[in-house]
């Protein structure tokens, strides 16, 4: 039993296949194998080997399946029927009984419907077999068996089976055109598959009656293949006459021709023979001629070969020259090659127009602004943290939304950092001078006596003694390093800057690099350092630049702490700091925080020691200012800005004002503070307190308002009257203008007039800030309670009216703004909170014991039991099917036998009949003879 190629597969042609007993199609619950089998049955021509033995009845079913297991096929059949039955039943009750598949039959025979009466309805049980159609299903079973079992039975003794595998031959509902189309497509496909798929030039071959149309067009078969090319296409007159001229005409001419030569007329046969002989001769001649030519050519070739050896000696030199030329190619060639290999210009996006650029920029800014506002309101963190989403009882917790996490707000992500924090600039103590040595306080003897000294209760004493300053030198004075070391050497070289710089490894290195240079040069230098160690150039550059930020920050602090402060350079370097910060936000934030912590630590130490601190140097203020420039100050919470805000608040409340520089510093802190909150409009009570304090300093003695101001705002001892103008005539010559920041680090050499002018300027700035406060806090609900003390003071000051008109205008302006604010108070109302839904939990499912169901045992046990049950059912069903098969077969065999018997009887009868007739005739003859 061999298998022919292509056996079993769809072939689309008639094929005869000697086939082994079919691989057992395993009947399953799924219909796939069955489908496959059906397909094969439709298309496969299978010749089965003849059965080894006559099939006994009972074994037939087994053989039908093709294997020893009779069950599967029967089961499949049964299943088919069952399905049909159930499909029919489903449509049942009054309606049409399904005949085949689910196709409804419009008018069922009511006598065929059998209703299985339910004795009582059971709740929750679906009646599946309430209506049956026994007749229909029986007919269907018989039909099915007729198609399958009976056919096999009939073919049981056949050695081969005819299988028509033509595509769509037996498919119903396929029109002939369609069928042809499909076959054609299939053929095309097969052909295509067979040939080289890489051959693109191959056209499909069109045929006509199985012959290639191309061949037909060439008329290969018509034209004599041996004839020469010259003759092709040219029809000789003879030939034409012979072929197409017909008999008469040709013969007539020939006859007239030949009549002159030979009288003897030739018959037509002779003529043709002559013609043939002639043409054959011509042909032979031509052939000989060709052969001669060929011989000649060969001879020529041989001669040439002989000569070639002689000729071939010459070329070497020429070849060598060629080689030399090759070794030294022409410049032009080179250029051509190069041009050929040169990268072609890639098409790029077109340049954007300015409008588009502006639009993009605007969109970017808008996006950033929206993000900023969101952070300012700080809503996302609150809600995210506060309320976990409600979990429904039916929640399968599969509602993941893998959207982008929008909590990462960083718009410029640039990696992490691992920079070791260098020491930050020690705040230099330029205020050391101001800390006079008025250490006259008598130490409270009981201050440190008891173990519990209740130091918090000593505050009264301390606040009253606060005006006496403790001994100076509290701050580390080491922060002041000689900034001008070695500038002399550098000075000459600084005329031309080198272009590459290594990133400095320490702050000292940076300092020595920058020392003694002009601000522009410093800027350029830092920029070059940045460019030389751009992170994309080398691996360690990122860490270097991150460190550079820290050094720069420190250096800026030192510049600010100088006397006089080099603020111009600071101003330039801020831009560099900003750029570096954009590159390394985390490192920058760490460095700034470090600096802030340092400042706070110093202040905290002073407060611990003396209860009150003094204003730090300008460097701290500059750092605070820079922090506000580098980071968004309006955020609800920001890792750098929030501490910076606290730091400023501490500066404004804990630091004592001892002189004009302190006032300037305080005012600078105030304006920085207001800049911080300018967008978010947040409330800063300390700021108002400090401004009030400054106003009190400008108030003449004994003219303060009735109610003393709050504690930190109290103009303390020495600072009282600090801003009083000592001479009236100076106020006339004063002109308003910006406060120079260098005053903050001490304005020692001042004439009396200048001092008075400075006072007035401070006052003007204070009023300006106050006005700004009023404007931004106006909408707050308790605005008047907030600004009450300031208002009272201002009104009194105004009444006093000792200040120049510009200031008077400022007073007026502030007061007018204050009065303009709406004082109406709407009573507070809580937000209506949503009713909290009851917490629902997913119900716990407990299986209720049901009678009649086996429930015990583990999961595996149950599964096993289920399978056993199912197997038993299947087994029973298969047995039943087999039994029915056998009945069917028996019926068929019986019918066959009966038919055969009847046939035999008929034949016997006929024979008897004949014999009887013969007998009768014979008897009649005999009788006749006897009669004779």
């Amino acid at each position: 039993r061999t298998r022919l190629p292509g056996g079993g597969a769809c072939q689309g042609e008639l094929g005869v296949v000697v086939r082994a007993p079919p691989e057992v199609p395993r009947p399953r619950a799924s219909s796939a194998p069955r489908e496959a089998r059906r397909a094969r049955g439709a298309l496969g021509v299978v010749v089965r080997a003849p059965p080894d033995a006559p099939v006994p009845r009972s074994a037939l079913a087994a053989r039908v399946g093709g294997s020893a297991d009779p069950a599967p096929r029967a089961a499949a059949r049964r299943e088919d029927m069952g399905r049909a039955r159930s499909a029919g039943a489903r449509q049942a009750p009054g309606g049409p009984a399904g005949a085949r598949g689910s196709r409804p039959r419009p008018n069922p025979n009511p006598f065929e419907v059998k209703v299985n009466r339910q004795k009582f309805p059971v709740l929750g049980r679906r009646p599946r077999h309430d209506v049956g159609l026994p007749g229909v299903s029986r007919a269907r079973a018989i039909q099915k068996r007729t198609q399958t079992l009976l056919r096999e039975y009939k073919e049981r003794d056949k050695a081969s089976v005819f299988a028509d595998r033509r595509l769509g031959e037996y498919g119903r509902g396929v029109s002939p055109e369609d069928k042809m189309m499909r076959r054609f497509a299939l053929e095309q496909q097969r052909q295509h598959e067979k040939k080289s798929i890489y051959n693109l030039n191959e056209d499909e071959e069109l045929t006509h009656y199985g012959q290639s149309l191309a061949d037909i067009e060439k008329h290969h078969d018509i034209v004599d293949s041996d004839s020469d090319a010259e003759e092709r296409g040219m029809l000789s007159a003879e030939l034409t006459a012979a072929h197409f001229g017909g008999g008469g005409g040709l013969l007539a001419t020939k006859a007239s021709q030949q009549q002159g030569e030979a009288e003897k007329p030739k018959s037509r046969k002779e003529l043709i023979e002559e013609l043939i002989a002639k043409s054959k001769q011509e042909k032979r001649e031509r052939q000989a001629q060709r052969e001669d030519a060929l011989e000649l050519t060969e001879k020529l070739d041989q001669d040439w070969k002989e000569i070639q050896a002689l000729v071939a000696r010459k070329p070497p030199k020429a070849e060598r020259r060629d080689k030399q030329e090759k070794a030294k190619p022409d410049a032009y060639d080179m250029m051509v090659r190069e041009l050929g290999f040169e990268m072609k210009a890639q098409p790029s996006n077109r340049m954007k127009t300015e409008e588009e650029l502006a639009k993009e920029e605007q969109a970017r800014l808008r996006e950033l602004e929206a993000e900023r506002v969101r952070r300012m309101l700080g809503r996302d963190q609150n809600q995210g943290a506060r309320r976990p989403p409600h979990m429904s009882a039916d929640d399968l917790s599969d509602g993941f939304v893998l959207g982008p996490d929008d909590r990462r707000l960083l718009s410029y992500t640039d990696g992490k950092m691992n920079v070791g924090e260098e020491q930050s600039p020690e705040a230099s103590g330029s205020e050391g001078k101001e800390q006079g040595n008025e250490d006259t306080s008598e130490e409270d003897p009981e201050q440190s006596s008891g173990p519990d000294s209740h130091s918090d209760l000593d505050s009264d004493t301390e606040s009253e003694e606060a005006s006496e300053a403790p001994g100076g030198g509290q701050r580390p004075a080491g922060g002041r390093r000689g900034p001008c070391e070695g500038p002399g050497v550098r000075a000459a070289a600084s005329t031309e800057l080198p272009y590459t710089f290594a990133a400095p490894e320490s702050c000292d290195a940076l300092r020595s690099l920058l020392a003694g240079r002009a601000a522009e040069e410093q800027l350029l230098l830092v920029e070059r350092i940045r460019e030389c160690s751009h992170p994309s150039l080398a691996a360690g550059n990122k860490a270097k630049l991150e460190r550079l930020f820290g050094f720069l920050l420190e250096y800026v602090g030192e510049l600010a702490a100088r006397d006089p402060p080099d603020l111009g350079a600071v101003d330039r370097l801020v831009v560099q700091l900003y750029d570096l910060c954009q590159m390394f936000p985390e490192a920058a934030s760490r460095a700034v925080r470090f600096v802030l912590r340092d400042a706070m630590h110093d202040m905290e130490g002073a407060v611990e020691a003396k209860g009150r601190a003094t204003f730090p140097g300008l460097d701290v203020l500059v750092h605070l200012r820079i922090a506000g420039l580098l980071f968004p100050t309006s955020d609800f919470r920001h890792p750098v800005v929030t501490p910076a805000l606290l730091c400023m608040s501490q500066l404004l409340t804990k630091c004592r004002v001892l002189g004009l520089p302190d006032v300037v510093k305080g005012l600078f802190v105030c304006s920085t503070f207001l800049d911080y909150v300018s967008l978010s409009r947040r409330l800063v009570p300390e700021l108002l307190g400090f401004l009030l304090r400054v106003l009190h300093m400008a108030a003449p003695e004994g003219q303060g308002p009735g109610r003393p101001p709050a504690h930190p705002c109290r103009a303390l001892g020495k600072s009282a009257g600090l801003l009083l103008v000592s001479h009236e005539e100076d106020s006339a010559s004063w002109q308003s203008g910006g406060l120079p920041l260098r005053w903050a680090s001490g304005l020692s050499a001042q004439t009396r007039t200048e001092a008075n002018h400075a006072r007035l300027s401070c006052l003007a700035v204070c009023l300006g800030l106050l006005r700004r406060c009023v404007l931004s806090y106006g909408p707050l609900p308790s605005f008047h309670a907030l600004t009450g003390p300031v208002r009272v003071l201002l009104e009194q000051r105004l009444a006093a009216g000792v200040h120049p008109p510009t200031l008077q205008e400022l007073y007026q302006g502030v007061l007018a703004e204050m009065r303009a604010q709406d004082g109406r108070c709407r009573p507070l109302v809580c937000e209506r909170s949503k009713p909290e839904p009851l917490k629902l939990f997913t119900p716990r499912l407990v299986r209720v014991l049901e009678c009649g169901r086996r429930q015990g045992g583990s999961r595996e046990e149950q599964e096993r039991r289920r399978l056993v049950h199912r197997h038993r059912r299947e087994f029973k069903g298969a047995v039943r099917e087999i039994r029915k098969d056998n009945q069917f077969l028996a019926r068929m065999q019986l019918a066959e036998t009966l038919e055969r018997d009847a046939e035999r009887r008929r034949k016997v009868q006929r024979l008897f009949h004949g014999l009887a007739a013969q007998e009768g005739e014979w008897k009649a003859l005999k009788r006749k003879r006897l009669r004779k």
Binding site: R372, L410, G738
Partner: protein, 544 residues
């Protein structure tokens, strides 16, 4: 070498005196060494005296009874034994007075030794009384000697706190404590009789106070005395229960051994009853507190008042005068005084009508900036913890605190905002302050901040707009804390204890630590130190 010889010489003298009465004059030599300048010698002499007179007392070689003047006895014709005893008693007397003087010696060792010796004498004198008991079993405490001890301890000139801490050990004993209390009262009376009151300028400390002190130093009771007295007084602690009075330092006369105390019940003497102790305690403190003390002492007394003094007083309400006076001093003292008053009201049924008004008066803007802020709010929380306070009062407090919060630093705000919310939680009637659904719109805040009486401040008609304003505070946590009032207040109170001690620096550190996540950046490029044109710094400051 020298020292060893001196010690041996003293030892010899001692042996001699103890051996025979004939050598009695050697006592003078020993006493002479007591006057020495060298502190080592003095110590030797003190030890010698201690042994000598200890032995004498035990032997009964000292005169018992009312001591006649030495001259009359010497001149008289009594028996030699009596003369000897009287003479020796006089020596003992002078020795004791010298030891009393030594309590003010510059060297602490000498002081300590002198104190120990004197206390030993006190013990021995109690066991072998030098006075005749008036009746059998009469218990005689050597008061006069003890008075010397106490007088020495309460020095006018110098600070005896170290010595007093030594003395504290003796105060463990009930009898010593009792008599110390009595002796102290007497000593205070004696000293203050001789001096005028402390001047007012000194009482308030502060500027110029020290100078005034120095001027009036010779007329006033010196500060050292008050300090010493306070140290002594504060180290007296009474037992809580009656039965605890059982440890005695001085044993009964009657020949029994030191380690054999007689049962207390048999001796109904005054100091065996706790009530008597309390009376003495009260008397002592009253005699101390009735004088005008320096300010610092007020503070110290008030700090221990509620805890160490008030529970032991026989009649605590008599402290009210003192407390009222202390309240008038202002500041932290007022608060502490209020604490005392609160205890009196709370535990001792004191009627004090203006208590809450006074507390209300203490709330001024400085309260958030003073160092005793944590204590203040702890106590205020305690005072306002009752849920039976009238609503108007609580509303006034809440409103006042909110008003003050407008000037408070963030660390104080973090504490006071939950404080206010707790008040509102405790008193649902006050919730109108944050939730007044159908209230009319007002032209101005009806609350009167200048009004001293909380009842007239119209706080209940107001609302806490201040908290609304603080929701815009620059510090995120403050803003969040203030935003609590936007929703209906949750039921459980927020514990404010952990917030009380919060300092700005801690807050700063917390904020620094929090910022570990991503760092948003400013997207507007920096244009220079002072910023762009619209920044205030650029507007008001110039770089040059």
């Amino acid at each position: 070498m020298e020292r060893g010889r001196a010690r041996r010489a003293l030892g010899r003298l001692l042996e001699a005196v103890l051996a025979s009465r004939a050598e009695a004059n050697a006592v003078f030599d020993i006493l002479a060494v007591l006057q020495s300048e060298d502190q080592e010698e003095i110590q030797e002499a003190v030890r010698a005296c201690s042994r000598l007179f200890g032995a004498m007392l035990e032997r009964g070689e000292l005169f018992v009874g009312q001591l006649p003047p030495e001259e009359t006895v010497m001149a008289g014709s009594q028996g030699a034994t009596r003369k000897y005893k009287v003479w020796m008693r006089h020596r003992y007397h002078s020795c004791c007075s010298r030891l009393g003087e030594l309590l003010a010696h510059s060297s602490f060792k000498v002081k300590e030794l002198a104190l120990g010796t004197l206390m030993k004498f006190v013990q021995l004198e109690g066991a072998y009384p030098l006075e005749k008991p008036k009746w059998e079993g009469h218990y005689l405490f050597p008061r006069s000697l003890f008075k010397v001890v106490v007088g020495g301890l309460l020095s006018l000139e110098e600070d005896c706190s170290l010595l007093l801490s030594q003395f504290r050990e003796y105060l463990e004993h009930d009898d010593i404590r009792y008599h110390a209390m009595q002796a102290t009262s007497e000593a205070i009376a004696r000293v203050t009789d001789g001096h005028p009151e402390v001047s007012w300028s000194a009482r308030f400390g502060g500027r110029g106070g020290s100078r005034a002190d120095a001027e009036a130093g010779h007329r006033q009771v010196p500060l050292a005395f008050w300090n010493n007295t306070f140290t002594l007084l504060s180290s007296v602690s009474l037992p809580r229960q009656d039965s605890a009075i059982s440890s005695f330092y001085v044993q009964r006369p009657g020949g029994m051994g030191v380690g054999d105390p007689r049962p207390v019940q048999l001796d109904p003497c005054s100091f065996c009853v706790l009530q008597e102790h309390r009376k003495a305690f009260q008397q002592m403190w009253l005699s101390f507190l009735q004088h005008k003390l320096p300010l610092s002492l007020y503070k110290k007394v008030l700090v221990i008042l509620h805890d160490a003094i008030l529970p032991h007083l026989a009649q605590p309400s008599i402290m009210i005068d003192f407390l009222t006076r202390a309240y008038d001093l202002g500041g932290a003292l007022s608060l502490l005084a209020l604490n005392g008053l609160f205890i009196l009201i709370h535990k001792h049924n004191l009627e004090y009508p203006d208590f809450y008004q006074k507390l209300y008066g203490l709330l001024d803007p400085s309260v958030f900036h003073v160092k005793y802020r944590a204590r203040f709010f702890h106590l205020a929380d305690l005072f306002l913890s009752s849920s039976h306070l009238p609503a108007y009062l609580v509303a006034a407090f809440a409103k006042r605190l909110a008003r003050l919060a407008l000037t408070a630093p963030p660390e104080a705000l973090l504490m006071v905002l939950p404080f206010i919310c707790n008040l509102l939680r405790r008193h649902p009637a006050c919730r109108v302050l944050i939730h007044r659904p159908q209230g009319p719109e007002l032209d101005a805040d009806p609350y009167d901040p200048g009004e001293e009486d909380p009842a007239k401040s119209h706080a209940l008609e107001s609302s806490l707009w201040e908290l609304k304003a603080l929701q815009h505070h620059y510090h995120p946590e403050v803003s969040q804390a203030a935003s609590v009032i936007n929703q209906a207040l949750s039921v459980p109170e927020v514990p404010i204890a952990p917030l009380l001690e919060l300092t700005a620096f801690e807050l700063f550190e917390q904020d620094l630590k929090k910022g570990s996540e991503s760092v948003p950046l400013e997207f507007i490029p920096a244009q220079g130190l002072l910023g762009g044109r619209d920044s205030l710094c650029a507007q008001y400051f110039t770089l040059s």
